[in-house]
Assembly symmetry: C2
Homo-oligomer: 261 residues x 2
């Protein structure tokens, strides 16, 4: 087997936690880290910008870990900033290596050569999706039926506008699990919860679900939590405590539907 | 990163030919080989059975190679029999490691443990799809727009019934390229050509397209050629000579449609 291109020196494979978990849910956190490896310097950003929501989803990893513990779920998360490569985007999408994010220019992404696009894709995107694919397919081979849940957070103020939604549940082609989560959250939490908000699949934000869940017919949902609600370790834990039963209730509901169908 | 299970000793990665090809088409041949590695003995089959269409798609690899040369296309093919693992099936599909194929029992697949399903998935399916995924995603990162074409052959007599179709063109969610190929074949060949015959996506035969093409919005088609028409190296070459211009004409047509849209 010949490799089609020379492999870059550095690979940034995802981190897998709770690998031997026996729960059905597979938690995916593409925007877990704001780390920019030395190869990419600071991408021309200030320390404040590198800590802001444009570089990662603040609180998402802590929440995902809290959910993983409570749900006995495996968790896979990306080790570098979405500004190096956004693992929830295909390489031809503008958001994969964005030159601008909300109101911020990203100088280090202003003029990316085809060679550099390829290098980042090989360094970050392919290791992430090959590992996620492996996790999921191995569970299918063992006779399980994984349920894919991606964990995100969003900024309370976007382009100067306040967002009132607190918890968004987004689906790709199959809405069943997202709708079941929505109903459970409305019944058991005080969160302002909406379906397909603050974005939807039409905004191309469901790439991971499209690649990892839809081709295998697996139930799936993308969760978006407003990041001011998970701004400390304690708040992350409290949110995990509220959402773990919501995800479980949703699971019970789609299992009931699957039996009835 | 912890591995979720111990890797099996033997991996059977796919073969990649013409890796640096610059054409848009990526040729995929999941049933190229009837090789059964020693670990699986002969699966309880006679030499005749191991040479029959149940073990592979006779003629498909030769045709794919002829197309790869003429289209300047990269080609990826699986190195082991579909009876060990059918790379065009997810691990939970009955056809992935079938205990029966057409009128033949496959004794070595009669009672596969969860552990063995996992081992075959890790040995054959995951290396194939990770490599195919890599090929395709790298091309997207370079600014290309790959077109995925899987190459198959089918038996002229199935369950005792003769099949009159000679060339079947099958699509997944996006029918545009398949329909363009159908029209070009009708215009330029004498083949009895049909859309979604002798199978269709409803029969779960488009797994590779679903995993590799649909999530990336890539044009795609699955080609099925009746194997009595590609029963010798000369016949494979003649078919490649007839079908290469058909695939190119189809490409011109969908490029025209993309511009008009």
């Amino acid at each position: 087997m010949r490799a089609s291109v020379k492999q870059p020196a550095d690979l940034y494979p995802p981190v897998i936690e709770n690998a031997d978990a026996s729960g059905r849910i597979v938690l995916v956190c593409e925007h877990a880290s704001n780390l920019i490896p030395p190869r990419w310097g600071d991408l021309g950003l200030s320390p404040d910008q590198r800590r802001a929501h444009i570089a990662w989803d603040p609180g998402a990893l802590g929440l995902a870990r809290g959910l993983a513990r409570r749900l006995d779920a495996v968790l896979i998360h990306a080790p570098v900033s979405r500004l190096v490569y956004d693992c929830n985007r295909a390489p031809d999408m503008a958001g994969a290596m964005p030159s601008r994010s909300e109101v911020h220019d990203i100088p280090g992404n202003a003029a990316i050569s085809a060679e550099e696009r390829l290098a980042r894709t090989q360094s970050v995107y392919l290791p992430f999706h090959n590992a996620a694919h492996g996790l999921i397919v191995e569970r299918i081979a063992r006779g399980q039926r994984p349920v894919i849940v991606t964990i995100h957070s969003f900024t309370p103020v976007y382009f100067g506008q306040s967002r009132s939604v607190e918890f968004g549940v987004i689906h790709d082609a199959d809405p069943s699990y997202a709708k079941a989560i929505l109903a459970a959250a409305q019944a058991t939490t005080n969160l302002r919860v909406e379906l397909n908000a603050p974005y939807s699949a039409a905004d191309d934000v469901t790439h991971s679900l499209r690649v990892l869940a839809t081709p295998y017919g697996l139930p799936n949902a993308m969760l978006e939590i407003r990041n001011d609600l998970i701004g400390s370790p304690e708040a992350e834990e409290a949110m995990a405590e509220a959402l773990a039963p919501v995800l479980n209730m949703g699971l019970v509901e789609i299992q009931k539907q699957a039996k009835a169908g």
